[in-house]
Symmetry: C2
Subunit: 314 residues, 2 copies
């Protein structure tokens, strides 16, 4: 099972998925468009969120970061006049130190990610979409902002008028990405923001083509429920970018490679409109309130792909 994944929503979905499918059979293709280099350290926020969630370390309240982590280093840096708007816990910082050491030694991000995944005891394969530099840039009324400035520093309050993936043209899929997409029995698109979480993955030349080339079309889970995003600014972005704030827009954005879209019961009335896009609508309770709900959403996605996992009870 290959899964295109952003951050918190994807991590929770994956957490449900690995209760149904052996973790070793899951490959995550992760977003690197929101990576950043505070103080020169390489931080991969979406991949870290997936990793911390699958490793059982995540701060469940926030959805990201390590539960109970201190922030001694960041507080000291702030006290010394450094910018400190991007939260970095101390244990979290240890992760970034370890990743940065590997990158500085010449390892590609995919190899560094694999080593960190292994060190955390996570059996899921986590592949960054690309080892090359790709950064999500957002056009706003105040000018173009890099992703984290938009999202964290300015708390995604700016209207997004356009999106650009800096470096995408020259980016190549990381080793294993195209093979995973070609060889997977099932490709799932996690309930992540289509523009800023899945968009940067699809922007890597070759990935979207690999999805289109599959005989078994992918199955997505809508991040939009009842006109609102499960998390973050997806609904507002749909609006400012000229789309409907509904799962229909999600189906349309993915229609060239999507076979089915899992939507919430609240949106059951939109099933016909989604099917008019050539995408089958699968209605379920798609809000991942707790661990069981995560599993149930993952089960609905697998079922929509005609894939019935066996032998992996909760």
């Amino acid at each position: 099972v290959a899964v295109l994944a952003g951050g918190v929503g994807a991590a929770r979905f994956l957490h449900g998925l690995v209760r149904l499918v052996p973790a070793a059979d899951v490959t995550v293709i992760g977003n690197v468009g929101d990576d950043l280099e505070p103080y020169g350290l390489h931080v991969s926020p979406d991949i870290d969120t997936v990793l911390y969630t699958l490793a059982g370390l995540v701060d469940d309240e926030r959805g990201w970061g390590i539960r109970g982590d201190s922030a001694t280093a960041l507080e000291q840096a702030r006290a010394l006049g450094a910018e400190a708007w991007f939260w970095l816990g101390d244990r979290d910082l240890g992760m970034h130190l370890a990743r940065t050491e590997r990158l500085r030694a010449g390892e590609p991000l995919s190899a560094a990610t694999a080593a960190l995944t292994h060190a955390l005891g996570v059996e899921v394969t986590i592949l960054p979409a690309t080892d090359d530099r790709l950064r999500t840039m957002l056009a706003t009324p105040d000018g173009e902002l890099d992703f984290q400035t938009y999202y964290v520093r300015r708390q995604h309050r700016d209207d997004v008028l356009g999106i650009r993936f800096d470096g995408a043209d020259e980016a190549r899929p990381a080793p294993g990405v195209l093979a995973a997409l070609a060889g997977a029995d099932v490709v799932l698109v996690a309930p992540s923001n289509p523009f800023i979480s899945i968009g940067p993955i699809l922007a890597v030349p070759g990935i979207r083509e690999a999805l289109r080339a599959r005989a078994a079309r992918a199955v997505g889970v809508s991040p939009i429920v009842a006109g609102r995003a499960l998390r973050g600014p997806a609904a507002a972005m749909l609006r400012t970018l000229g789309h409907a704030q509904t799962p229909v827009a999600v189906a349309r954005l993915y229609r060239d490679f999507l076979g089915a879209l899992v939507i919430d019961e609240a949106d059951a009335g939109l099933a016909a409109a989604i099917e008019a896009e050539g995408v089958r609508a699968v209605v379920t309770d798609a809000v991942m309130r707790d661990a069981d709900a995560r599993r149930d959403v993952a089960a609905a996605a697998l079922a929509a792909a005609g894939f019935a996992p066996v032998g992996h009870a909760p």
Copy 2:
């Protein structure tokens, strides 16, 4: 008062000095030969030791690092497979984050150091000897080692057969260094290792010349007492580099710019040999056991320079 300074020994001496002279009247010219970039962060161990000591933050037992600091980030990095032989506390790491942020923004090390010094409320001026990259490299029977590999990782157990200051030829004194040396009433050489603490400072073209050009010659404090180093490998280095393990060798190493050398009572018998080098020997209790002893050693150095501080009782 300008002071050439290494790490722990110098920091303790300076701690005594600022009880005698207003901190704002003291300029430290600090060693950067042992700077390193673990994980891409810029660490200036000697300057940090001076800073932490003058800010009252230092771990007095070890002589370096911040008292009571945790090492959560480093432990996590180690758990994730990173090299972690260079100790970095969490608050300490905050310092390196703040410094690195400034350097990455294009500030020279001297400006970053000034900002951090100010942020810590330290009134002494601390100048790195140079803003340029200068690294102490040690020839050993196992080949050339960078300073921290020699000192920390291999715990200075290798015989040092030669020393090279990588980058020294192209290094320029940091802004303010030559002016401080030219304008100071008194120049002191702290009780630091002459090879690896003071040596890298003197290796910056122009600094030694500025010391020689002074009318009032500098006053040093011997880091060697009774054939042993107050701290670290100075005595062993004197031996492997072919010098006597005595303050006489220290006097000889500095004789072109030194007017007097403060030595311990244990070495009083060497006074004549030191004076034969053209350096006046000043005998005192030169072991800095506690805060009062630090002050007394600093007072002896000031007195040897003919400088009688007034109005600054302990």
